[in-house]
Symmetry: C2
Subunit: 199 residues, 2 copies
């Protein structure tokens, strides 16, 4: 029965400890923030030693980057699943936005993606990560909407960044106890305001 551990390929070993480290790190980063989580805690939770951590990740920040990357990927997946290509451009935007707020409701995501990520990794790295995942779906949706004439021809990068920022803040505010209805109403009003301007 110990065969599983006593005889594995290097790839299997690596993958198992990497996964264990990511899981433990995510849990603690979410519970106590990145800064207040020490590497000895992480490896204890993961059941390995600090040697393994620094073998797989160049430093603690790289571990956070890996956690954030995976989280952003999960969020993007949930959004794409909720807002398929078949929808109209406008409905895809609205539905995608709802899906984003739902996804960010999952505990810890706001801290990872909106607080510690930007502060520790910097906006530049966060932009890279988000462009690979969650923000890509928004940007594509906006581009489609502009081409379809549903939105006025605004600069795509800036429009994506600012709408994303609104959704980010809404997610933070809702988690902090703000009214989800209020925030959704404002988001809807702003999108409708843009849409009506294109007529």
């Amino acid at each position: 029965m110990q065969e599983n551990r006593s005889r594995r390929s290097n790839d299997q070993r690596s993958e198992a400890t990497r996964a264990s480290l990511l899981k433990a790190a995510r849990k603690l980063f979410v519970e106590k923030s990145y800064a207040e989580t020490a590497t000895p805690e992480i490896v204890a939770e993961a059941g390995v030693t600090r040697g393994a951590l620094y073998h797989h990740f160049v430093d603690k920040r790289a571990l956070l980057a890996a956690v954030v990357e995976r989280e952003s990927q999960s969020v993007a997946g949930e959004i794409e699943r909720a807002a398929p290509e078949s929808l109209s451009p406008r409905d895809a935007l609205v539905t995608g936005g709802e899906a984003f707020l739902d996804a960010m409701n999952s505990p810890g995501r706001t801290r990872l993606l909106l607080l510690d990520g930007p502060s520790v990794l910097g906006r530049s790295i966060m932009d890279d990560i988000e462009t690979r995942h969650a923000n890509r779906t928004l940007k594509d949706g906006l581009a489609t909407a502009i081409e379809a004439g549903v939105l006025p021809p605004l600069p795509l990068e800036a429009l994506t960044a600012q709408l994303a920022a609104m959704y980010d803040r809404a997610a933070l505010a809702i988690e902090a106890g703000g009214s989800a209805d209020d925030h959704r109403a404002v988001l809807k009003a702003i999108i409708d305001g843009l849409v009506s301007r294109s007529c």
Copy 2:
């Protein structure tokens, strides 16, 4: 000539070292971020010892909070100076927004107010600080605009938070090399979209 230092009241002493610590901390927090700035560096820059620091501030975070508070106050002051009461509600909003972007262009403010502040102090404390200063001017402007019928009657808290988030992200993006014109255009389009909806 040494009279200035050899014979001062306690209030003067305290105020001088507090100011010196705040100035040094701001400089280093901006240059290297909060996390990478050590208290020995700060006190060396300020010309005092760590004893003085921990006499005036309960811990390193409290020092950051004081720096952030002062910075937010400065930003609010610049905005209010640029967008006086005499303007029409809509012009006050637009002008105030421009003034905000200009103010945030001052080096380090994005890092202090938009990155390290939220991450280290938390959204809750940051909201308290911003409500006392910069965000108050925006909220007042929005309330006035809604009362005047220039904006539709949206929930004030949520509207303020989300518009502030947009301006925040615009400031970050511009500092990161993004096109200021693009971001201003998007901001203007979104505000105009809201205004036109109220007709």
